[in-house]
């Protein structure tokens, strides 16, 4: 189930190493043997549903939880048994957690004061942080006098001002509204690029993970289901869970009728579909096939024709078009009532709900797993 492709590079460029980290709360295994290496200057996303253990893992890195076993190495130094205040780690929280009795400026320079940075340097760095995060003019404000986005930027400034060896972000955008979130995604990515500080970004939002990060680890039940570059996680999911969690996909379940080379033909609701063949599948095996919305094409049923060899075709009726701006989702109802969703550019589409259509895709795309 678990597959790791841990790339690390040389020891010097590794900002964070986790070795077989385990942590349980009572009978619940929150983190169950995690290996992770984050490179210097890398933007790493920990993606998973709630309860998958990603926040616990982050707290272990920060030193707020002690792992039952395993080691945490930050910047080449084993910090497993160090308290949080020796680790040179910054952290940004979902609910901002600014100190309510301190002004924005006082919040931001707090880490520097704790490190006894001289006043001149403190002021200099504060000016730098204010400029970087566009917080000029807000220094004297108290947290409750700031908007959500401003509070989050202050929290980011506090996390970044001491130029930590690592910045941890725990769902930092979850409490912001949609527009602001999109804006902040870009901003956060920019800070990371400019500062070259490695970010470990926890989120349950796959879009966030995909937009911002270099690599993604998909976590479930305390283990990494897959870890790799974002394109790889998106296009080559390592498990059925990853396939359904990352991106929007149609899920089809069937039994293998026959296999030939790298293809398998499955029986699905009385239709034959060609899918990539998972290793060691034999006729009779149950198969979970998932195909991303955007991999499914749609054309008018009248044009019909033969969409070419090696393509799967499903005839149905267009139930609805969900217009999303740049793209649209076409919901196709098959004769047996099952729905297939295709996503595409709503170009000169003349299709109307109720039209007879064909949903089709090349047999080589999609991901299938033994069920």
């Amino acid at each position: 189930m678990t597959s790791w492709s841990t790339e690390g590079g040389s020891a010097a460029s590794v900002a964070l190493s986790l070795r077989s980290i385990r942590k349980h709360f009572g009978p619940v295994k929150a983190v169950d043997g995690v290996e992770l290496h984050v490179a210097q200057g890398e933007f790493f996303a920990l993606l998973g549903p709630s309860g998958s253990g990603k926040t616990t893992l982050l707290r272990i890195i920060a030193g707020l939880e002690r792992p039952d076993s395993g080691t945490v190495v930050v910047g080449g130094q084993d910090v497993t048994h160090q308290p949080p205040y020796g680790r040179r780690i910054g952290m940004v929280f979902q609910n901002f957690l600014l100190f309510p009795h301190k002004t924005a400026g006082e919040n931001i320079i707090f880490p520097l004061r704790m490190q006894r940075v001289p006043r001149d340097e403190r002021d200099e760095r504060l000016a730098w942080a204010l400029k970087l995060l566009r917080l000029d003019g807000l220094v004297e404000r108290y947290p409750n006098e700031l908007s959500g986005g401003q509070q989050q930027r202050v929290a980011l400034a506090r996390g970044l001002i001491s130029r930590p060896a690592l910045l941890l972000l725990d769902e930092p955008l979850a409490n912001l509204d949609r527009e602001l979130r999109a804006e902040m995604e870009v901003e956060i990515r920019r800070y990371q690029r400019e500062l070259q500080i490695p970010f470990v970004y926890v989120t349950h939002n796959q879009e966030e993970a995909l937009t911002m990060s270099d690599r993604i680890a998909v976590m479930r039940n305390g283990v990494f289901e897959q870890i790799g570059p974002r394109e790889e996680v998106y296009t080559k999911p390592a498990s059925a869970f990853v396939a359904s969690f990352v991106g929007s996909a149609n899920r089809l379940e069937g039994r293998v009728a026959e296999v030939s080379g790298s293809e398998a033909c499955i029986e699905w609701n009385g239709t034959s579909i060609l899918v990539p063949r998972p290793l060691d599948t034999a006729p009779g095996d149950r198969i979970l096939f998932s195909i991303k919305f955007e991999d499914v094409d749609i054309s008018s049923g009248e044009e019909g024709g033969d969409p070419g060899a090696g393509r799967n075709r499903l005839r149905g009726r267009l139930r609805d078009v969900i217009f999303k701006g740049q793209t649209a989702n076409y919901i196709v109802t098959l004769p047996d009532g099952v729905e297939i969703i295709a996503s595409g550019t709503p170009r000169a589409q003349t299709l109307r709900p109720g039209d007879a259509v064909v949903a089709h895709w090349p047999a080589t795309v999609g991901a299938s797993f033994k069920g």
Partner: protein, 296 residues
């Protein structure tokens, strides 16, 4: 138009109902608090002679209080005692309240209620119990005597005994005030402080203490004020050399029957208490207290 007319009709009625809610409380405060207070102020400028009040206006009572050294000693004694008791309560109550708020879990409420257990009996009984503990024939000294050890005379009818008694009596107020502040405190902020490089003690000084100062100040006032005016406890536990301002005040209304002088003492006590509260309020900055902070 109809809507406007309606709101115009409704609004005065709502205010009227509101007055019904507030009225009894205000009336009670006026009758039971302000009137006696005013009476005391008035009496303090009058004269008493053989247990009778005479309404001839003079400053004699205040002159007595200013010139008679005994009253200075009583007031100083009460003041220092109240400061000491508040300080001890503060140091004692914080760890207790902190422990309950942080680690009490589902037993929190029970633990706080247990603090109120001494209130299930009367003040006199509680003080008498302390006498039974500290006195010459009390539990501690009896045991020491049986073992052939020297007796703890420091606790037998001394000012120290009075301080201990006050601490015992007023501790629950202090713990409750600090506890109520701490249960509303977001302990996650401490984690944030630690991640940002604060050692535990520093995190306490920077975060926990300032954000709970208002609750603590309320606790200090709740201990200091009654302690300053206390008459019964020093009388039972303090012995002959511990006459407090409150004790002397009580005597003016009792044994000696000098109501006017007692009233003047009451005014002084009221003034000192007000000064104490004023001084306390100077230390409070609502914004710095986090009261206007983000809600969790």
């Amino acid at each position: 138009m109809a809507a406007i007319a309606q709101t115009l009709r409704v609004r005065p009625r709502r205010d009227f109902r509101f007055a019904w809610l507030v009225g009894p409380g205000v009336a009670f405060i006026v009758v039971a608090l302000l009137v006696p207070l005013l009476a005391i102020v008035v009496f303090s400028f009058w004269r008493t002679e053989s247990y009778e009040l005479y309404a001839d206006w003079n400053l004699g009572n205040y002159r007595t209080l200013l010139t008679e050294p005994a009253y200075h000693i009583f007031l100083a004694r009460s003041f220092i005692g109240a400061v000491a008791v508040s300080a001890i309560c503060l140091i004692y109550a914080w760890p207790v309240a902190y422990f309950i708020a942080r680690y009490g879990g589902r037993y929190r409420l029970l633990l706080v209620l247990m603090l109120a257990a001494p209130f299930f009996t009367g003040v006199i009984l509680r003080i008498t119990a302390l006498q039974g503990l500290f006195g010459p024939v009390g539990l501690i000294n009896m045991t020491l005597g049986e073992l052939g050890l020297p007796l703890l005379t420091a606790l037998m009818y001394t000012q120290l005994a009075a301080v201990v008694g006050h601490v015992y009596l007023f501790m629950p107020f202090m713990v409750t005030a600090v506890y109520l502040s701490l249960v509303n405190f977001d302990f996650e902020l401490l984690e944030v402080a630690k991640i940002n490089g604060a050692r535990p003690w520093r995190a306490f000084v920077e975060i926990t203490w300032p954000l709970n100062w208002i609750g603590t100040a309320i606790g200090l006032v709740l201990v200091f004020i009654p302690c300053l005016a206390s008459a019964v406890t020093p009388r039972f536990l303090g012995g002959p050399d511990a006459t407090s301002f409150g004790m002397s005040l009580a005597q003016q209304f009792g044994e000696t029957g000098t109501w006017a002088l007692g009233s003047a003492m009451g005014v002084v006590l009221f003034g000192v208490s007000c000064l104490a509260i004023l001084g306390m309020s100077y230390t409070i900055n609502l914004r710095r207290g986090g009261f206007t902070g983000t809600r969790a």
